[in-house]
Structure formats: structure tokens, C-alpha cells
Symmetry: C4
Subunit: 250 residues, 4 copies
Amino acid sequence: MVCTVHFHERPELNNPVLIEGLPGIGFVANIATLHLIQELKAKLFAELHSSAFQDFAITAEQGKTNVPMNEFYYYKGQSGERDLILLYGNTQALTTMGQYELCGRVLDVAEEFRCKYIITLGGLRREEKIINPKLYCAAADKEALKDALNMGAEILGGQIFGVAGLLVALGKLRGFKGFCLLAETAGFHPDVRAAHLTLKPICEMLCLNVNLSRLDVAAEATRKILESFGLLEAPMNERRKEESEFRWFV
Amino acid sequence: MVCTVHFHERPELNNPVLIEGLPGIGFVANIATLHLIQELKAKLFAELHSSAFQDFAITAEQGKTNVPMNEFYYYKGQSGERDLILLYGNTQALTTMGQYELCGRVLDVAEEFRCKYIITLGGLRREEKIINPKLYCAAADKEALKDALNMGAEILGGQIFGVAGLLVALGKLRGFKGFCLLAETAGFHPDVRAAHLTLKPICEMLCLNVNLSRLDVAAEATRKILESFGLLEAPMNERRKEESEFRWFV
Amino acid sequence: MVCTVHFHERPELNNPVLIEGLPGIGFVANIATLHLIQELKAKLFAELHSSAFQDFAITAEQGKTNVPMNEFYYYKGQSGERDLILLYGNTQALTTMGQYELCGRVLDVAEEFRCKYIITLGGLRREEKIINPKLYCAAADKEALKDALNMGAEILGGQIFGVAGLLVALGKLRGFKGFCLLAETAGFHPDVRAAHLTLKPICEMLCLNVNLSRLDVAAEATRKILESFGLLEAPMNERRKEESEFRWFV
Amino acid sequence: MVCTVHFHERPELNNPVLIEGLPGIGFVANIATLHLIQELKAKLFAELHSSAFQDFAITAEQGKTNVPMNEFYYYKGQSGERDLILLYGNTQALTTMGQYELCGRVLDVAEEFRCKYIITLGGLRREEKIINPKLYCAAADKEALKDALNMGAEILGGQIFGVAGLLVALGKLRGFKGFCLLAETAGFHPDVRAAHLTLKPICEMLCLNVNLSRLDVAAEATRKILESFGLLEAPMNERRKEESEFRWFV
């Protein structure tokens, strides 16, 4: 397994918080992070490629090709805002081992920029129709748990699949603080409401001055990326039988 | 595949016996070892993490997150009791290669503390209802086989899946003595009776002064851990079709 | 995973173009490249073997055995023709990781001979009957995209599976220019028409003086190789259920 | 993947032939090689273990445990007999990559003892009832092909799965001569007749003075080993659905 990070720049950051925004249930983290990148004009400083990503190319706008990848953006906070490292991407790793390696590399990058606090976002899939989606949380430590509970989140029981769970739990082993914040969602399509639900308290906690009214733009962009991955044509339940490699997309 | 051991302490042990207590059929080893840890107040001295464990986080009591892991505890025997290394955990590795690597690391730790004798425990799944469960054994060498036969165990024919079998057989290649002791069980739920059946003669053999009347406490704790892994909600046969990664849980 | 290249010769080439010709949908690239090798009398200069290829031997004419492999041929252009590196083979890698490693090695070879431009060919599977198959393209850069659009290809949306997509997209990360050219095809059998459709504009672009009237000879040879792989006996849809390792053969 | 060879002895051999005898279709190679080992009193000189073998222990006679393994035996020929290296074992590797690595290690051992000729044996599964089973062959080179054709074998078309094919084809890449000899068989149970059919001409070619009348003893021993692997209880077709790891057992 090979997972490499290529740096464009090595920014000076002041006690940054890492926000994870990879695709997952409801694309909650994906939408929220893309919105932060766009609204804050966060700057791309590193790209991550893994041989545990899909072995296909994705055609982008205007006939360009890309491989699946993860990207690191940074934002230097202004007037009291917290500095950020934003992990954005169009995929998670396809294998268990690949997920561990991916999280390891992300933590390496976080450490290099003296980040000590990790926030992962995600959706919590519910079969039934959700009228008033709730927030759930799990944390690496007491302090971060308190931060999450202060957002009105309830304590989650069970497993947290994929990078959202693994990054906080593996980070804990390496001394990071942080929490995972999940919003209830139907799960398969980009869920703007769930993204809003997670992003609002995060912005408050980090004193980020972000307008959330344009979240649907990020959701629409996410929808297009998913289409280029061929993920929105068929109901997900059916697809999953065929494409077992999308294991992280539970 | 990466499998690493992180030491908290390097205890001085006198000819310790390693007892394996990872989850498996009937959670026999899991319950028995957790009971030993609790009753003997065994001390955690090392943690093992593997990229062949599940790629999710588990939420524990009070909102904390953990990754799947294996732990090493030690007990310094008193008044004639044997020194122990107890291998406890909430998972085995998900891949064949991961299981070999896991056993290799466990044997490395055993060697470092001059352990020369390995006992693995487990359940032997029976379809029919079991009135009087029997003990079965297999061993790395004649001396250990005699030890196991002295417990009233019968010689087992067939395969021993997972770490219970592999650790004894791979240990044999590296000069360890030892045996595997299996109790008949229905298999899917924590089986206190089977755990008692294996643990009782082990305690006698190792002169361990342990009260077995509270074994159900360890079984209940095991049950809770399983719930946090989502393993107890559906009958295991059905689950196995979906979750082929739980291959070691045969 | 081990992927090794064994060189027979290290030719001096002048700004060569790499043309990828591994098996895939409609065997378009496979037929086209075999034809170029035969017509141009291109010379074998390196062989590539991977432990991610199939673990069987293939019997060839006259009782010989071969393992699955990829081969590199070169052609030194005459009177204005472009120098070529031709990648030909009877398989792609069976795993995602193997595909990444394979593409990495191919790019290593391309770099060593100062190749800066990669052309991959392929088929675009259509369920319905195709009367007038069209060409589609995706590119690493604007210049190459223009080259492909000049051939009458339309811009492709979606994913490009296997080496055809991955080689261009990973090449882009390492500074290669190039494009992927796909012809519509029914997909399962060697498709001479689709191969002709891609090869004609490629020959024009590279000023290659190649007679395309004998393309059916290359298609027939490809058909025989497929038979030796056991790939033509049953409809592919049925086979895929059984032989999931032929993942790249979508 | 880790594949290691442990040597008990490093015999002096004179231009030995390697005969491969791992389990496969009809257990032809397995029976034939075990018979040679027993009749010639061949001596064990090395053991091979791989993390791509099954992750279970096998209980042997008298309660002992073993891991799956491959063994190397040697025989120093007397009065004109050829020196032999015999590869015997109770499994092949479970993964493609593991098979490549296994063959690589076997070829390393063969090279170390200056072996230049490899014979692999196997069964060729036929659906229909076989009255007069025939021999088929494929070879690394012309000379070896001639040797095999002289035995009355016909040239095989198609693939040769597993170590039987891979060892000859990968050996060819490293300069070994040799052939693969397959006898028609029904496939699932140890087939004494097919083993006899392959072994007889091999003994003649190598001037081996071996009584083939006791081949059924080796077949019976093979049957017992299979039972300890749990392979003979259910019809193989059914088992294969459940136990996809026995991929090499096609």
C-alpha cells in the first residue's frame, strides 16, 4: 500500500484545528468542508494519493482527468477566528489497511503543523423519515466531549465507520484531542440540512465568520462530483451489492 | 500490514505463562481472560494495534472512542501462583495475513518476557443442544498435551481457526510449548458455562487462586463490548453473509 | 506486491509517445497496439511481471507456457514518423493496488526514455446496438485535449476504469501530457471497428505510415489469446459473477 | 506477505530435478510425491511457511497441532537414478500474490541446489466420466516439451492454475527448463489412477527405481490429511461457495 502526500506549500499556522471532510453517509462532511473552503477561500497546500483509492480516472469539467485524491487546505483565521486545516477529497480508501494508512498520513500532516485538535463530521443513517434530525457525538477525550456536548449533541453508542471514526480514535493514540460530530440523515444523497446542522455549531465553537446560507451551492457541487463517480445513478442499496469496493460508503 | 506494540511498562516476570483471550466462538477465551484480569487485578503493560483490525471506531462508556485493539496484561503470582501474561482484546485480525502478523507480534512479546508456555482457549461450536459440554485439546508438544489431557480434555481432530490455533502452532515453530483448550458451545453468545469449564482446570494447573463465582460479571462485560461492536443484534449466521470481514468468527 | 521490469535492450528514442495497449473493453487498445507492433515491426525491449497478475500459466502455441505479462516495444520513426513506446500485454493487474503499481512502473519506463506524452486507448461499452460508434476523450492537459478533440472525439463524462484512465491521470501528476481515446463498443469480443476508429486518427496525429486494412489479423490473434485465457467461452456477464478477479474487465 | 524457508540441512546434490507435489485437482501431485518420499525414503531438509497459507491450526495424530506448510525433501539417486528435490505440502497459498511469492521462494531453493529442471504434476478436471484418462503437458522449453511428449502426453491448451502452472512458467523466466504433466481426473477426491499415470513415465525418465504398486497407501494418507483440513466432508462444489479462500482448489 502506498499513500503519499505532495506539498505545494508549508504554511505557518497557529494552533490549527483539523476538520475532516471526506465523502461518507449523507456527504455531510464533504458538503460542510467544501463550503468552508469556498467561503473562507482556504488555500490548497498538499495533495494525498493512495494505491488504496479506486483504480479509475474521473473526468472533470472540460475533459480533464483526475485520479481519486484527498486534499489539504489551510485557512489563517482573522479577528479571533481559529486557524484551520481542511481535509477534503472525493474518496476514502477502499480497504481496511488503506484506511489505517490514510488516517496515519493525515495525522502526520496534522502533527507537522502542530495541530492538536481534530474534528470529524458525518451522517448517522436512519431508516425512518427524519423530521428533526439530531446531533450525536463521540470524542477522544473529556475536554473535546464537553465541547461536543455543548453543541447539543447526544452521546453516540455503537461504531463509527470510516475515517470519521478512525481519525479521532487513532488520533487519540497519538495525543490528539477531538471529537466526531454526526447528524441524522437518510444517507444516500448530499444532505444540506445535515451539513448545516453540524457546521453551525462548529463555526460558533471556532469563531468562524461563515455565511451558511449558500450551503446548497456546496451540496450541488458535491452532487456533481458524485455523478462523475457514477454514484448517484442507482439507489445505493442496489449498487452496494455490485460494487463492494465502496465499502466505506455504508 | 502494520502491527505495532506500544509498551507502557516492561515488567520483570518469572517464567510466565501466556493466556490468550481474544474474542472467538462463544467468547470463551474473552470471558475467561477478562475474569482473570479483573480477579487478579492484572496490570496493563502493552497495547497492540493492527491495520488488519476493523476500520471503525467504537464508542465506549461516556462518549469516548476507541479503535479495535489487543492488550497485554501481566500478573505476578503470589504464594506459588504462576506469573501470567494475559492477552485480551476486542478483535482478531480480519485477514489471513493479519492473523499471521498478529500471532508473530504476540510471540515476540512472549519471547521478550521469557515466556515459554502458551495456553489458548476457545469454543467448539456444536449445532445440537449441549447438555454436558466436553473439553477438547490440541498441543504443541507431548508435555503440554499431557497437561491438557490431565484436565479431562479429549484429543481434538480437525482445524482450530483463528488465533487460538495459530498461536500454539506458530509458537511451536519458535520453540514454545503449550496447548489449546476448547469447550463445546452453541457459539454465538458469550457462554459463561464454557468459560468456566476451561478456566477451572487452567487455574488448578497454574495454582491460581481465583474465585470463579463471578464469571458472569465478565460475561456481562463481554456482552456489552459485543454490543458496541454491533455483533449481538442479529443472529450470527445472517450477519456472516453480510459482514464477510468477520472471517475469524466462525 | 511486486512488479518488476526486465530489460532486453535500452533503445535510444527521440521524444517518444507511449501508446497503451492492454486488454480492456472491446479489446480496442489490445488490437490497435498489436497491429502497430506487427505493421511497424516494433521491437520488444522490456517485459513486466507482477504478482498482481493471475496466478496461472497460459499455454501458448506448441506446448509452451507463459505467465501473464506486459511487454514494452519500441519503434524508431522513419521520414517524419514519431518514435513510439508500445505497451502490450495479456492482462491488467487484478487488484486496485496492483493497478497503481503497474501504472507507476510503466511511467518509470516512460520517464527513463524521456517520453512526455501518453496515449491510452479503450472501448466505451454501450448496452444498445451501435450503428455509428463515436469517439470520446479525456485528457491530462489542455494541449492534449485539443489533440484529441481534433480527432473528432467528444468530451467524456464519468469514470475511465483500469489502466486506460489511471495511466493518463497518474501520468499528469508526474508531468506527462496525454489523453485517453475511447470508441463506443458492445464490449465483450474483440471489436475491429472500434480499434480502427481509434487507430486511424492516432496514426494521422503521429504521422505513422500504417496500413489499417489488416486490422482483422490483429483482432484474430487477440481472439486466440483470449481463448487461451478462457475468456471467450461464456458470455462475460455470467463469467463476472464467478470470476470476480477479472475486475478490470468491466 | 511473508514467506520463509527454514533449513534443517543443506544437502550436496548432483544436478537434481525438482518435482512439485502440492495439493491440487485430484491430489495427483500430492499422492505421487508422497509416494516418492516414502518409497525412496527421501529426507526432509527444509520447511516453508507463508502468511498466505490458511490461518488455522491442523490437529495431527496424537493431539499435535501444525500450521499449514510446504516441505522440501531430497533424494540422492543410486545406480543411475537422478537426484531429486521433492516439494511436498498440505496447501498452496490462498492469494494470487501469495502464490507468486511461494513460487519465487521454491525457485530460490531450487537455484541454491543448482537444480535446472522442474517437473510439476497435476490433474485436469473433466466433467464427464473418464474411461481411459489421458496425459497432457505444457513446457518451459522445447527440450522439456520433447521429454513430456515422449511420455505419450498431448499438448495442452488453456490455463494451468496454481503452482503447477506458475512454477514452470516463472521458472522459465529464471532459466529453468521443465514441464507440467497433467492427468485427466474427476477432480475432487485423491485419484490413485491419475497419480499412477503421471508417476510411471516420470520414474522412467529419471531412471527412478520405484515400486508403484503401493500408491494407494499414499492416496490413503493424502485422504487423511484432507480430512484433517475438513476438505472431504462435503462435495467440493458446495464447499467452494462457502470457503472462497480455497481458490487454488479449482
